[in-house]
Amino acid sequence: MTQANLLETAARLRRELGDGYHDKLMEAIYGDAAQIADQSVSRDEQQARLTFDRWLDRALTHPVAGFLVMGLLFFAVFWITITGANVPSSMLADFLLGVVYNWLHMGAAALHAPAWLSGLLIDGVYMATAWVISVMLPPMAIFFPLFTLLEDFGYLPRVAFNLDRLFAKAGAHGKQSLSMMMGFGCNAAGVVATRIIDSPRERLIAIITNNFSICNGRWPTLILMGTIFIGAIMPPALASTLAAASVVVIAVLGIVTTLVVSWALSKTWLKGEASVYSLELPPYRPPQIWRTLYTSLIDRTIIVLWRAVVMAAPAGAVIWLSGNIFIGDMSIAGHMVNWLNPFGLLLGLNGVILVAYIVAIPANEIIIPTILMLTLTLGRNIAGAQAGVMLELDEAQVHTVLTQVGGWTLLTGVNLMLFSLLHNPCSTTIMTIWNETKNLKWTTVATLLPLGLAFLVTFLTATAARLAGLA
């Protein structure tokens, strides 16, 4: 047992050296590093100090101005996204859901394809996919490059710096602000990013709350709801401003929820003190604009869109089948929607939305297409509307379909935004949480706690709105 001997010797020597050992070692390393650096580096004191960088840092991390700038920047990003996406979105919808859709049906008729087959493939698979593309592609193609430019410039660590104080007060690790930022792209990536947090307690808090960072799959839902329900309250000139503001409010609400849930967890289940750490603010770098545009279009937009399309195609088939296979006098989807409707209405939502969220567990991206297809399919059966109406859905028509066929109100729109923010993570994220924690209990908590919170909050807003006579 020589190894055991070796370890015993090490333990004995460690005791002899005492507590100062680690410090002595660090001192030796730092001393050598300082000496070598000192001899190798020369500074030109005449050179203008980077006063601009310093001035910018002071403004961007100022306790008050920092938050103002943060709000304004995010607002600007959403405003540009919403106003910029309007026209291409409706052009795409006209083309894919109008022109191409009609071609496909004409082609199917010419080939004498049976109705069930053309229904499944064209009204199911194709339509879900086309909707995903026309709803998601334009806002993503604008939003991702803008966000990446901010990141490239070095702004995100400043946001983390601003939020750090708040996280410390919530009993969480300051680095959680970084994994939270990562979650704004993809929660699965955000959960992996919590590896930078060394304390298991704080890492669990970061994993559980990462869901409240709005991911790629949810931005389009929020932007669309903000545009057609909230922006529409205002005269057209102010509509996109209000729409953008509503999305910012939801995103900020996500950060607030992250902080509140972190605080609650660190006071109850995951008790403990916040660790100390250092956060480095990188230098500002002029963004490489063309490279950023290229990589964010290829890496992000196309990948997200591809994932959505891959999920949407089978989902389209499932929706079409469940809407067209009848049990008794009602389709399967009809049964499910009717069954969930009372609960949905209690939450200020409806049965269609809840069924859509069950279908969309693999990917949040397909929520809107699923809702539209279910509303139209069931609306045709329930409200007796004509088959195949209003397929070229631009934003105004989406609004018409949801309000007139689906019976939506402003409350439904607002609560869908809240539900989208709070509800359970997608299946990819749940798998990632399992991989990172290997713990059934915490994976379950990370999945069900957000869902419970979503039920609670939407129930409260619905009840409050009803009591106030607003809905």
Partner: protein, 273 residues
């Protein structure tokens, strides 16, 4: 002028670079990229492999290992981009991934990407890595930013003190990549014999303790290249090193299956903002 002259020219060596992306195949050499956070490891990684790993201007962007490859000369190199760390002495998962790879993965060359604008802090990590492995190349990155800040670095002096090649670079502008390739090749093939700097222990009692443990380690694990560093960590009571000694996984022939080396990030659609 003979063709020989061309072969020593950095421009020639750039043309000898063939980026392989993720298609590494039978790699002759393994190159690890280590360094402090946000020094441009991923940019250097992309420059070498031709991959487009997402590069972010912030700390902690890479938390798992990314792998790619290139050929240079007639050899295939596998490149492993490690998470950025300030030190190899603490315990967060990302630092452990970096530390375990350098220690147990035994890369043929470890490229330490250092930020020229913050040399002293970057040297802290460099010195720790030099304690573990002597096959190191220092990529002195962001040299253009340093110039903008009025900082000049005597890279020859630095190379002499560290005992390993130092390559000034601006990886974002692809400057210094040919020189880096040559340095990697020289260290990998042992054409360049490094004389790594050793941390000076000024405390005689500590020096004695280290020597005692080194002797024991050399007896139990003959041929292990980084005994001094393992001794330092044993003195610190590092649990994963203690465990590696106890189970014998420190021994060379039992190395290939270290858990963290097969641990891949579960990121099928890893889209980071």
């Amino acid at each position: 002028m003979s063709a020989e002259a061309c072969h020593t020219c950095p421009v020639y060596s750039q043309s000898a670079l063939k980026r392989l992306g993720v298609d590494v195949g039978q790699a002759g050499y393994v190159v690890a990229l280590a360094g402090n956070p946000n020094t441009g490891k991923s940019t250097v990684f992309n420059a070498l492999t031709g991959l487009r790993q997402h590069v972010g201007n912030w700390t902690g962007k890479t938390v798992a290992r990314a792998e790619g490859g290139f050929t240079f000369g007639d050899k295939i190199y596998k490149v492993v981009d490690l998470p950025g760390t300030y030190s190899l002495l603490s315990t967060s998962v990302d630092e452990e991934i970096a530390r375990d790879f350098i220690l147990f993965g035994r890369p043929d060359v470890t490229v330490v990407v250092a930020d020229a604008t913050r040399l002293e802090r970057n040297l802290n990590l460099t010195l720790q890595i030099l304690e573990i492995t002597d096959r190191v190349v220092v990529a002195l990155n962001l040299i253009d930013e340093a110039k903008r800040h009025g900082i000049t670095i005597d890279d020859r002096h630095l190379a002499r003190r560290l005992g390993v090649p130092v390559v000034p670079m601006a990886a974002r502008k692809m400057q210094g990549v040919p020189e880096l390739l040559q340095a990697i090749e020289a260290v990998a093939t042992r054409a360049f014999v490094t004389r790594p700097h050793r941390i000076q222990q000024r405390d005689p009692q500590l020096e004695h303790a280290i020597r005692q443990l080194v002797a024991g380690l050399e007896r139990d694990f003959p041929g292990m290249p980084n005994v001094r560093w393992v001794a330092l960590r044993l003195l610190d009571g590092d649990p994963s090193i203690v465990e590696a000694v106890r189970s014998g996984t420190l021994a060379h022939d039992q190395l290939p299956q270290v858990p963290t080396l097969t641990q891949e990030a579960p990121l099928p659609e890893a889209i980071a903002v």
